[in-house]
Symmetry: C2
Subunit: 705 residues, 2 copies
């Protein structure tokens, strides 16, 4: 947070400047250097505007200056619209003139190759050294809609401007940002700040997000990201937004490498990048939009209505068919469509004998004979069940002039009587009427399914105060791992020490000792060669299972050594591990930690066998875990029902599993950068009262030095 607090002032000078200079200013208002001068003059910017161009006296009716230094007045923001070779000189000038922020449109940097990347890196370093905030290069700049700052050469505002509002939008891509701007305009969505970050030599996507999290003019944040340069910085920014209670809606595409490469990311490995982003978003309650429509629906709705108290919803309809459709949708989205009490149902049926009074409430076409039925029914519903959300499908009524006053007074009455209920109406409405209902914090949808989907997403926003319960620091002392894979007994010992329940085992160095260990452990045992040089012991015949009695154990000790030696002559054998067989009554799971290059250690949990390997059904979380994360991971699996006791078995002990995941997460944090990966496979989950869960095999790998 300190990082952002200190950066905040610098970004404020950039995003809310009192004076703006345009370097490379042009008299032609269609050119890259002419557009910002034109916009600043026409669109109501209140501060000073200084065109800089050594070859002109006046530009677009303003006095022109030969350099930034020559202006002799404070310049908060300099927009550099000059070719790449002139950028260094212009930047020198900006630093000398005491400019606080720079927007750099110019292309010709990292996107053209190594030389450009090096020039860009130098520029970023110079900006940081000089304390100047730099946005770009290769970007479309930004617009502070509320303050009429148009530091962009996008033609989009010329077609029509977005209205001021309380949604901030940041995009790494200029073209995407421009389309989003146009869509916001067409849909009547108001914006506070619109920013594109381009190559991000200095200011990153995460910095803009953090600034918006602290901006009093912004309630909701929309982000478009292709790839994150600094995972911890993005996480800190998301935490800031969460703490501020500001919903974040994000579109993330496959990768920065476009097109087919982006497509290819879908076939990536188990814990592929995109799944990690998903996990990070989930950690901070980010709503991930999969389409542009969803992007705007979610952000606009969050700005209009905020988060419902919980997932309960009352559904009201004038059409039984649409009621059933809404019920179908609401169930699929996990909303709580609880029925009205019998008393409330009776009351509705008194008014309309053929009404469906349960929930959805279908008051039928009777409403055309008695318009008051709508408000009366809604009040019965909300008084009876205190639904967090109420959605009314009023068919095409909204398009009728005769009905509009009834609809408006219905919403006004419900808003007054139920101030903390999320209200939504599905009907066809003109934009002006829609805006009137939205001003009463009532959402409006033409398609009731959009309403259900949006309300369900808003109900998934973090509860107020969720961010306060931050993750506790890991328990226990630091762990330092040597590079490379640990032997299995070493890995098991380390995990056992970290609080992971592991199978009972002994390390032995001879056949007699193996037989004695088996007897001490009791029952059937498994025997595996121990060698730090052998990653896959069963592939070299180094594993024997279900051994009963001393003779079988002795024979297995000798046989596995011979097999392993034959397969890998150079491998050092360090005895064998004898472990009690865990009977097959539990559910086979897998748990692990791997280090993501962007976001650091990621915890993984899944069901074993085909679920992980073939169906790729795993839950991921960045570390440290938030309270409740481990339990939530168990619920997230598509196959979660298997933990509830498939095939007649009682449910497994979820608390024991969650505690094991927490122990593994703490272990990974204590090992820090010295841990490359850790995997428990299988982790057998058993019903409560049958021993909780137990790690049967483990692989721990230290990072290369």
């Amino acid at each position: 947070m300190d990082l952002f607090t200190s950066q905040h002032a610098g970004l404020s000078a950039l995003f809310a400047p009192r004076s703006i200079a345009v370097v490379g200013a042009s008299s032609n208002a269609q050119k890259i250097g002419g557009i910002p001068v034109d916009y600043q003059r026409r669109f109501g910017f209140g501060g000073a505007v200084y065109p800089v161009n050594p070859k002109a006296d006046r530009i677009q009716d303003l006095p022109a200056w030969p350099s930034l230094r020559a202006i002799g007045q404070p310049v908060d923001l300099a927009i550099l619209a000059v070719p790449a070779p002139l950028v260094d000189g212009a930047f020198d000038d900006a630093v000398a003139a005491g400019v606080k922020g720079v927007v750099l449109f110019s292309s010709g940097f990292a996107e053209i190759g190594a030389d450009g990347a090096a020039a860009q890196a130098r520029l970023g370093a110079r900006a940081r050294a000089a304390g100047v905030r730099l946005i770009g290069p290769n970007c479309l700049g930004f617009m502070n809609v509320a303050r009429h700052v148009y530091a962009t050469f996008s033609p989009a505002p010329n077609v029509g401007r977005v209205q001021p509002g309380r949604i901030g939008l940041v995009s790494q891509s200029g073209a995407f940002g421009a389309y989003a701007y146009a869509m916001a305009r067409e849909r009547g969505v108001g914006l506070s700040l619109w920013a594109t970050t381009g190559n991000e030599a200095d200011v990153q996507f995460a910095d803009c997000l953090a600034w918006l999290a602290q901006d009093p003019g912004t309630d909701v944040i929309m982000g478009y990201i292709e790839g994150c340069r600094d995972g911890p910085r993005l996480r800190a920014a998301l935490a800031l937004a969460q703490a501020a209670g500001k919903p974040v809606v994000m579109v993330k595409v496959g990768s920065t490498a476009l097109g087919a490469q982006a497509a290819a990311s879908h076939t990536a490995a188990l814990a592929g990048d995109d799944a990690v982003y998903d996990a990070v978003f989930r950690r901070y309650g980010v709503l991930r939009a999969r389409t542009l429509t969803e992007f705007f629906d979610l952000a606009h709705s969050a700005a209009v209505a905020g988060r419902p108290r919980d997932r309960s919803i009352g559904l009201f309809t004038l059409s039984g068919g649409v009621g059933a459709l809404m019920a179908d949708d609401a169930c699929a989205q996990g909303l709580d469509v609880r029925p009205l009490s019998t008393a409330a149902q009776d009351r509705l049926r008194d008014w309309v004998p053929f009404a469906a009074p349960r929930n959805p409430v279908d008051i039928t076409g009777q409403v055309t004979n008695d318009m008051t039925l709508m408000e009366r029914s809604a009040r019965v519903m909300l008084d009876d069940q205190r639904f967090a959300s109420w959605l009314g499908f009023l068919a095409a009524a909204g398009a009728s002039d005769a009905f509009w006053p009834v609809l408006r007074s219905l919403v006004a009455a419900l808003r007054e009587a139920y101030p903390d209920t999320l209200l939504a109406i599905s009907t066809l409405l003109s934009p002006a009427r829609r805006a009137e209902l939205e001003a009463m914090r009532c959402l409006v949808f033409a398609d009731p399914s959009d309403g259900i989907r949006t309300i369900a997403a808003l109900a998934g926003l973090p509860a107020p105060g969720a961010a306060v319960a931050a993750a506790a620091p890991p328990r226990g002392t630091p762990v330092v791992l040597a590079p490379g894979a640990l032997s299995e007994p070493a890995a098991l010992a380390l995990l056992a020490d970290a609080g992971v329940p592991v199978v009972a085992y002994r390390v032995v160095h001879g056949a007699d000792e193996a037989a004695a260990a088996a007897e001490a452990l009791g029952g059937a045992v498994a025997l595996k060669v121990v060698s730090a040089d052998i990653a896959h012991k069963s592939d070299v015949g180094g594993v024997a299972l279900r051994l009963q009695g001393a003779a079988q154990v002795r024979a297995a000790f000798e046989r596995t050594r011979v097999s392993a030696r034959a397969a890998l002559p150079g491998a050092r054998l360090d005895g064998a591990l004898v472990a009690r067989m865990v009977d097959g009554a539990g559910v086979e799971c897998i748990a692990g930690v791997h280090r993501d290059p962007v976001f650091g250690p990621i915890l993984m949990f899944g069901l074993g066998g085909i679920h992980v390997e073939t169906l790729r059904d795993v839950a991921l979380r960045p570390l440290p875990l938030a309270p409740g994360d481990a339990q939530a991971m168990l619920r997230e699996l598509r196959g979660a029902a298997i933990l509830d006791g498939a095939r007649g078995r009682p449910p497994v002990d979820r608390d024991a599993l969650a505690a094991t995941l927490q122990a593994l997460a703490d272990f990974a944090l204590r090992a820090g950068d010295t841990l490359a990966s850790a995997e428990i496979n299988p982790l057998i989950a058993r019903p409560a009262g049958e021993g909780g869960c137990v790690a049967v095999d483990a692989l721990v790998v230290g990072s290369a030095a």
Copy 2:
């Protein structure tokens, strides 16, 4: 088909009448009996209109008649807008007057209880006896938009009329139909016929669908259904539409019982109703829409663009970010985003060095400097790969007046050069401009994700000629089953005879015979008591597995009899079944047939164990199977990858599985109504060359007499 051919003429007189009478006509154009008179007069109906009302001489400036008979001119259609008690008399009058079709608005029939249902049934029988087609009661009627027939009292056309078009829309629900009418109007979707079927005393949803399938004015059919009264009739209508090559888009809600009951259908059993509808829709290539937006997107797009040749798609973008988003979407939807050849890629890169030339093709912002790049790039893409579909994301350009002529000529040029390519543009466009591109058979989407989703759905429509390859009649002679469960050996013998590969087994009646059978079979065996009275043999200790050698087999024979007798003293034991153990190397599957009350025999296939029981991952098909259905069922499972060889195993023999499903389907058809259900569980699927698949246990139940 004969059914529909003979009905067709009757429905044509109903839907395309030359003369219309309104019984219960009112001078008040706001009333149920006044609205149709008003609509017929104002909206351009070309034929005669006869208001019928014994208490008036003139109605709305037309001469009024005391009865239908009194008119003395042919009346094709009579609209009955009278209270329920007067319906019988009005219907008598209609029959006597030789009316061909009746629309019955009146409520007070099946929806009010048993008496109403009886009256409705009588009315339906009388209509059929008299050869009069009757739509309703309790319906909103219909509109033949092309012929200006407004046989409805819905206020929707008063707000604004839908334009004539080539999409027919049928809805069981009046309220849903009215909303759909309003949405069609707002979205500029043109309709041929709009019909609501209400209580369906005579004309059913399926009849309207069949009529539209044969109507030369209709290309695409939209349907909203709550519940089907006659499964074979609906299937025949869908087959008719498929044979006519007309896409059908359908919304089906949970059930006719509204609200919470509809919601409850989501938690129904394994092969619950809704899943059966899904299977029937899949069988006839029906596109099932899950939202109103999808309903219109799909139907309108099908009408504009039809079906693409295959799933290949070329993606073009001015924004790399949106290109990645489109690639993500296209992959998720199973479209074939194949890359351009190296030569084509080189050519694009010659023009724009920083272009992404693979597919998606991102030609970058360079297009603003050279507008011809768009058409040139599209031609390179389409010449190189002959994509069935081409989707271009042109950002906000469509909203710019300067760009519009470029866009229009781009589409015109591509349409001329590639007449059989599905063209689609994603940009922001006014309705008028959108219509202009649609007239060139080019789809337009504001959200590129909607475009991808819609194109993928259209690619799923049945290929031309698919309907011609109708299902072959079942092979073999009829089978007649006695009521009740067959014994396991009887079931296995019957299935083996039907072509299902079954495990090697013997039926034995003594311990020595059991031991001899085991020796003859070889290897380990299973032994199970045989009894038609015991459905779950393992629950009564009647099963012993993995028996080796004569002693174990003898002991098991005695033990299972004792256990079964103890558990079920009254059960008749009929010896034991000794079967060769099938080793655990295969994939455990389950296959079965059950009789759906609406659609008859339904074939089911799934993976065994948790996949069926906990994850409910099954594929269903109505019988008879269409060619390719059995293989398609294997692909449809969420866990289909397991058949491809999970955990290092080779893929299972899909051909053997498909042949077994076909054999089971044929068996079910040969058994006809005498079969209640058949289930093979487990059906072990093994790799090709390892014996195909084999039924290990089977349960066949004959229908109660």
